[in-house]
């Protein structure tokens, strides 16, 4: 491994000489911040030589509200609802990552039933995130509507479950330090079981629609290839890393929560291109379903929170902790420094989508604009998390 190849590309901004000897020049395009393909207010400063991208610099900050500073002036519990707004597709995994960091900081034990509820809600979150991501990717490719609406139809069922459990469809604010806020209401488990049992049918349909599709294969195979070495060195995580063939899933590595109790496999890609990233997500949904089936069967009765854990007026001892989980987009980490006061002294979010964008330019160089759109789509970003 040579380090020079892993550094940010040093682009030479000079157009190739045109064949007829006339002057040619680079075209600088500002894609975004208001562009339908950028999944929010994200901008890319692109320099084009004809059709080909010769430079691409992402520009962030349009949605920046200094989440970390706000959290420093807020109690530990007060930041919990705000974590929902980071990656607003996956509020439950954000909750879990934050709760895990605080539990590591203060040494709080989580009861069995709460751990199971966490796993169930997190895997449901993964299902709806991956389904809609694949739908969005198809939308970016020009398959207007149909695949996205198929995905959203299924997502709706899962959001209904979240609403019944937590009271909110997207801003769930469900987990607490050392447990969960409320137990599942009567009939929720049966309803969830029905959704989970019906999901493989949707996946079969979705895969039939997509995997063998010639247009999809032509548009995605060999596009946006990311090498294994660069992916590791650039801190790429989640399905994007596993599409490069690196076996690194925090559910297996850290075994946080109770993930060591479930049998599931980690799908790995071979080529690290857009097609692999898309397929990895489809396969991960199947594995999430096996986890869900096991968790639904094994979930014990019992308390969802130790009544002695202090939630209001919570003051952890001085120290620091870094807690991380496998969120649907990659490694979501929270780093907390406590000075013994009711507010965190330092509160840091490690956003997976921001760090996965590090390699965006490397993947896009030499491709054309239409490919940039789907490469960005395959990274799976949510600007609420990128800009914080």
């Amino acid at each position: 491994m040579t380090t020079s190849t892993l550094l940010p590309p040093n682009v030479e901004l000079r157009p190739k000489a045109s064949s007829d000897g006339s002057d040619s020049q680079l075209l600088e395009v500002s894609m975004g911040p208001q562009h339908p393909s950028t999944h929010g207010v994200f901008r890319m400063d692109v320099a084009l030589d004809g059709e080909h991208v010769v430079k691409l610099k992402p520009v962030f900050g349009y949605l920046h509200r200094n989440h970390e500073k706000i959290a420093e002036n807020e109690s530990y519990l007060g930041s919990m609802p705000y974590t929902d707004r980071l990656d607003y597709f996956c509020s439950l995994t954000n909750n879990w990552a934050y709760a895990l960091a605080v539990e590591t900081l203060a040494g709080i034990v989580v009861p069995e039933r709460a751990e199971y509820l966490r796993v169930i809600t997190a895997e449901l979150t993964r299902l709806q995130n991956h389904a809609s991501l694949v739908g969005f990717l198809m939308q970016d490719m020009g398959a207007s509507g149909t695949p996205l609406m198929y995905a959203f139809r299924e997502r709706e069922k899962i959001l209904d479950l979240f609403e019944a459990l937590t009271g909110a469809r997207m801003m769930c604010n469900y987990m607490r330090f050392g447990g969960c806020r409320v137990d599942a209401p009567a009939g929720w488990m049966q309803q969830a079981q029905q959704v989970i049992d019906a999901f493989p049918r949707f996946l079969d349909e979705f895969e039939k629609l997509l995997t063998g599709n010639e247009i999809l294969m032509a548009r995605t195979q060999g596009i946006g290839v990311l090498s294994k070495e660069l992916a590791i060195n650039a801190g790429v995580t989640g399905p994007m890393l596993r599409a490069c063939g690196v076996n690194y899933d925090l559910r297996k590595v850290d075994k946080y929560g109770i993930y060591d109790r479930f049998k599931f496999r980690i799908p790995l890609g071979e080529h690290g291109d857009v097609y692999d990233r898309c397929m990895i997500r489809l396969l991960e949904m199947r594995e999430s379903l096996t986890i869900l089936q096991q968790a639904m069967k094994e979930i014990p009765a019992g308390p969802i929170q130790d009544p002695k854990t202090k939630i209001r007026g919570f003051r952890p001892k001085p120290g620091e902790a870094y807690g991380r989980i496998e969120a649907p987009k990659g490694e979501l980490g929270f780093y907390l420094v406590s000075d013994g006061s009711p507010n965190p002294y330092r509160y840091r979010v490690r956003p997976p989508s921001l760090i996965n964008l590090t390699v965006l330019e490397d993947m896009c160089l030499g491709r054309n604009i239409a490919d940039v759109v789907i490469i960005l789509g395959s990274v799976d970003i949510v600007m609420g998390e990128v800009d914080r």
């Binding site: 040494g107 590791i232 801190g235 902790a321 840091r348």
Partner: protein, 225 residues
Amino acid sequence: MRRWCKSLWQVRMTLEPLKAEIEANVPGCRLEIVPNPSPSAQHSLLIDAEHAVAVATFLRDAKNLQFDYCSNVTGIDWPSREITEKVKVTKTIEGPDGTPVEQEVEEVRKSQTVGHLEVVYHLYSMALKHGPVVLRMRTEDRGERVHLPSLISVWRSVDFQEREVFDLYGVVFDGHPDLRRILMWDEFVDHPMRRDYIDPDDYEYEPTAHDEVMRRTNEHHGRTA
């Protein structure tokens, strides 16, 4: 099973030998273990700026360590603060009969710590699946001497994160090829994550100022409401 007990054991087992190993392989480096008293027990290694790149390269390339993945980079601001400590001093005072008598007196001393900015790196190994090892670097103060070496030549993942620390804390990373503001706009002057940052009160973009906002806007412009 208590999750943090395992990590406590791991850290106690690994950090002391790790320190010795780095010191043996990177000549001249000054390391210090910063203990973490919380139940997480994620102790960290304070490294000196001069040898930071050498230490990081060693951690990444050593066969038994292989910290190939730098997960998280972040800054912490430690402004100078007053420490009061009680010290026992022997003083010579005049006794009741006029002769000098030595007596032990407790004295309260106040001193100022030197404020500094700290950068924290969380390292993991994807190859060997272990970690975290926490590295810290400190600047000399919070004013002019805020330069630290960039570790981008070791881990590409620090690219945006060091830019963020530069943007929000004002740590200047020497050797970073593209050190620009990342979240704030380029014309912005201050570093908003510092503890002593004061919010702007002119509300340039507030179209219909009222109540508290109106009061502060008027104060800013020296107007009476």
